[in-house]
């Protein structure tokens, strides 16, 4: 037993010294980087006119590096599929919500929806956008579930799935349409880029919000006429 403990201590000492070496190496590498590099900031700034939005981060997310966002929507969907394919969780018995929580959720959820819409709209020219708005919407969904609301089983079937997939779906469809009219995949032509980006972002916001709330729920919502 003491022998075991001694080797454990020695191993931990070895681990700590190894990690210290890694930290020193990474720190040296970071400190050695030159900060005066131009980076991609100027390139983004020069092409901002053509992107359809005036906020550089939104332009990068939805236009210049649209692949990232497209695949990111895919990752969200895959995470949700993973959670759903694991089957239901044993439902945790919780106390009844009570009137305070009911009133709080009734007051707060419309505000959260309003803020999500605002963030989506403001994303074209200031910090904000689909991800932030989607997260706020997801938090609103979490709050609804915590307050004891459940999705009506009429909407939990096809409609819910359509909302979940629509973020990725609309993105792919718009990009493919661009391909058909002679641009590249994910290459929005400048005159309508702003409107297309807003369309994609609006659908993506709904889809991200629904997906995050469903990830919190942890199991597939019940489908069926009754229950």
């Amino acid at each position: 037993m003491t022998d075991n403990r001694k080797t454990g201590k020695a191993l931990r000492l070895l681990l700590v010294s190894l990690l210290c070496a890694i930290a020193a190496w990474l720190g040296y590498a970071v400190l050695g980087l030159s900060l005066s590099h131009v980076g991609l900031g100027q390139l983004v700034g020069a092409n901002l006119e053509a992107s359809g939005v005036s906020h550089p981060v939104t332009a990068v997310l939805l236009n210049f590096r649209g692949y990232d966002t497209l695949l990111e929507m895919g990752v969200l969907l895959v995470a949700l599929l993973g959670v759903w394919s694991l089957g239901g969780m044993p439902d945790y018995d919780e106390s009844s919500p009570g009137p305070v929580l009911d009133i709080l959720s009734r007051l707060l959820i419309p505000m959260l929806m309003l803020v999500a819409g605002y963030l989506l709209w403001v994303g074209a020219h200031a910090p904000g956008g689909a991800f932030q708005a989607g997260s706020v919407l997801g938090a609103a969904g979490v709050l609804m579930m915590l307050a004891g609301w459940r999705l009506d089983s009429r909407f939990a079937g096809l409609l819910l799935r359509v909302v979940m997939v629509s973020g990725l779906g609309v993105f792919v469809m718009v990009s493919t349409a661009m391909l058909l009219i002679g641009n590249g995949f994910l290459e929005f032509s400048p005159p309508m880029a702003g409107e297309l980006i807003l369309l994609i972002e609006a659908v993506a916001t709904m889809s991200i919000g629904a997906t995050l709330a469903a990830l919190f729920l942890g199991s597939r919502p019940a489908v069926g006429p009754d229950k």
Binding site: L15, L35, G41, V44, V57, V75, A79, V83, L86, L215
Partner: protein, 102 residues
């Protein structure tokens, strides 16, 4: 923007700290927290270096990458938590058992 290196080194520190906790803790919830801290460290290095050039506005490309990264991290965390609960239901343990030792 003299604090850039401060934050970059903080990112390195958080990454190594998370790695240490990831290795020494057996409990799966702690491992999930550790991976989240590691990811935050990486994000911090990226954003700190994006703000590095004092003459230019911050580079928007790393910012966009980090925003997608944060959303991916939270969805991966949700999946990991459900997997942890499943492991806990199936085996009654909160850590992955080592077959050579059990």
């Amino acid at each position: 923007m003299s604090g850039v290196f401060l934050y970059a080194l903080l990112g390195v520190g958080l990454f190594v700290l998370g790695l240490y906790a990831l290795i020494i803790h057996a409990h799966l919830l702690r491992k999930i927290l550790a991976i989240n801290v590691m990811g935050t460290g990486v994000f911090l290095v990226l954003v700190a270096l994006a703000a590095g050039n004092p003459d230019a506005p911050p580079d928007p490309v790393p910012h966009a990458m980090v925003i997608t990264g944060i959303v991916v991290a939270v969805s991966a965390t949700a999946l990991a938590l459900i997997l942890m609960l499943k492991v806990s239901v199936a085996t009654g343990k909160n850590h992955l058992s080592d077959s050579t030792r059990d």
